[in-house]
Symmetry: C2
Subunit: 205 residues, 2 copies
Amino acid sequence: MPPGDVPDIVVGRLPIYLRALTHMAAAGQEITSSHELGQKLGISSAQIRKDLSHFGEFGKQGTGYRISHLMDQIKRILKVEREWEVALIGVGDLGHAVARYGGFKNRGFHISFLFDNDPAKIGSPIGELAILDSAQLQDVLVERAIKVAMIAVPASEAQKVADVCIEAGVKAILNYAPISLTVPDGVHVQHLDPVAYLQRMTYYL
Amino acid sequence: MPPGDVPDIVVGRLPIYLRALTHMAAAGQEITSSHELGQKLGISSAQIRKDLSHFGEFGKQGTGYRISHLMDQIKRILKVEREWEVALIGVGDLGHAVARYGGFKNRGFHISFLFDNDPAKIGSPIGELAILDSAQLQDVLVERAIKVAMIAVPASEAQKVADVCIEAGVKAILNYAPISLTVPDGVHVQHLDPVAYLQRMTYYL
DNA sequence: TAGATTGTTAATCGATTAACAATC
DNA sequence: TAGATTGTTAATCGATTAACAATC
């Protein structure tokens, strides 16, 4: 099935399904149903079946879904059955925490490079990685064919950093800076602005 | 306009508009139009006008929107013209970074309490706040009538912590743990799982 | 077999867009 | 005034849901 045929919003739910399935599997569960999964996530069972039907047939009538099989399939669809090398630009408090965050392991990503432009930080290690000079950013990204970057620099620098990444061939950017990045077609951005999510909830209070 | 009449997805865009307007204002700009704002955000001008029309009339034909006025109105709608006291539960690497994050200031939120269950951390300060014992969580939340919480504990504890928060009257939860929380009606949750956002992009690579 | 659950179709529901009168 | 842009209506587009035959 060609990517263009699947709505964005459906693709966006696949990681949620995968996350829930991972927890079920970790708890030793082997089989689930669209009904059970939907109840856990607050999504209708019909929607889950419809979403999955965009990509193939993964269940069995009367039984449901074998969790390990469905996980494998979703990983394949999302292209996270492999491990993507990720560059993290900006190693302040937040970037530091992201660099040490254990949650990328086994979910398709591995932070391979850290960059900062602060001379005091360049060369010092975080875990097993040394912080590289941002001046080398473009060269390293090109040479290592990095496609995925996370930006954790101040808002005032985020667009500039994004431009360099894109110029170097990066196609997916996770942006921690509280600013909307402008990118050309074919480059994907996701914004992780905690305040925006909080504001979205206070409306209802 | 009663909240029930406004689609969630519209409410979700207001913080994005507010963020973009804030940047324009910081750059000294005083007036904008739905067309300009839309272009910056990759959203159609019609959608922006339609979204805003759910809440009132904030612009002027032929001119556009006075940025400061529109910001005030959106802040009022989102209820962030005030400052919400927020409790942060879990002060590991990530929680630590969140606690030190300067980006909440002037956007409607203020971290007022830090909690952790690690005896080695309890009592030690981060900035101006001391880390409190999680055993006091429920009492403090009730006593101070806290409505907003951020959860940055390990996935295995997140649901338990959320349950305590909800029991204590919290109505909005920002969840950093990579797990889907189950909450009753009337309680709002937003999940900030960076890997889910990355996976959503790798589909297209 | 009887019960359960899938995958899919068609109907419903809701969101986005295009167009334009109103008006600054 | 002439040009620009809003707020709103109606049309279009797309997503969700309900229902059910297929089948494990």
